[in-house]
Amino acid sequence: MLIEITAEPLAPEPFLQHVRRDDSGAVALFLGVVRNESLGRRVLCLEYDAYPEMAERKLREVAEEAVARWPISEVAIAHRTGRLEIGETSLLVAVSSPHRHDAFAACHHIVNRIKEIVPIWKKEVWEDGEAWIEGEPVGEK
């Protein structure tokens, strides 16, 4: 299991290498990428803030949840912090599994859970202002 919170650009290859296994016929890779618009406003860049010690711990928990629920071989998760330009990768999730269905399902679950429990926040910077984006508070962490 490879978990990383980093201010450095995310390149997929080391994470893909980390999860590849001879018994795994599927590797699912998800990249969250900075988009140039949000709810009709042009986005110039994003800024991510994190509580790194806790975020790493929670990412590990999310990965462990997936390992407990699907027959997956290995997981790698990385999240960027700091200022990100349009097109840069903010989140990377790589999951390997013997079969594609489980790799897709586990990867999807991990991405959703990160948005619920991992203490990372993004600020959208627009042409005419900026705001910290806050997700829906969920009942049970």
Binding site: L31, G32, V33, V34, R35, S38, L39, Y48, D49, A50, Y51, E53, M54, A55, R57, H79, S90, L91, V111, I114, K115, E116, I117, V118, P119, I120, W121, K122, K123, W132, I133, E134, G135, E136, P137, K141
Partner: protein
């Protein structure tokens, strides 16, 4: 006794600091500490109903009783990952 309080994102900008070390009274709860800070920083009160609390990097309930040296964080609703769905 003392506790360290960490602030992130919008809360960090409101307080103007990433971290404060505060004197806390014996038996103070984590939500009690938040409400004390609301008196000093009134805009914090907007977060009263949506905030989660952590102590030593683990989520705790609002009525957690603080201990000397605890590291507290007030956690606004998270928004990591990629863009809105």
């Amino acid at each position: 006794m003392k506790a360290t309080v960490k602030f992130f994102a919008a809360l960090r900008e409101m307080i103007g600091a990433r971290e404060l070390t505060l004197e806390v009274t014996d038996g103070q709860t984590v939500v009690g500490l938040f409400r004390e800070l609301c008196a000093r920083y009134p805009r914090l009160a907007d977060y009263d109903s949506v905030l989660f609390y952590s102590v030593n990097a683990e989520y705790v309930s609002p009525d957690y009783a603080l201990k000397d040296g605890d590291e507290v964080a007030f956690i606004p609703p998270v928004s990591g990952g990629s863009g809105a769905d």
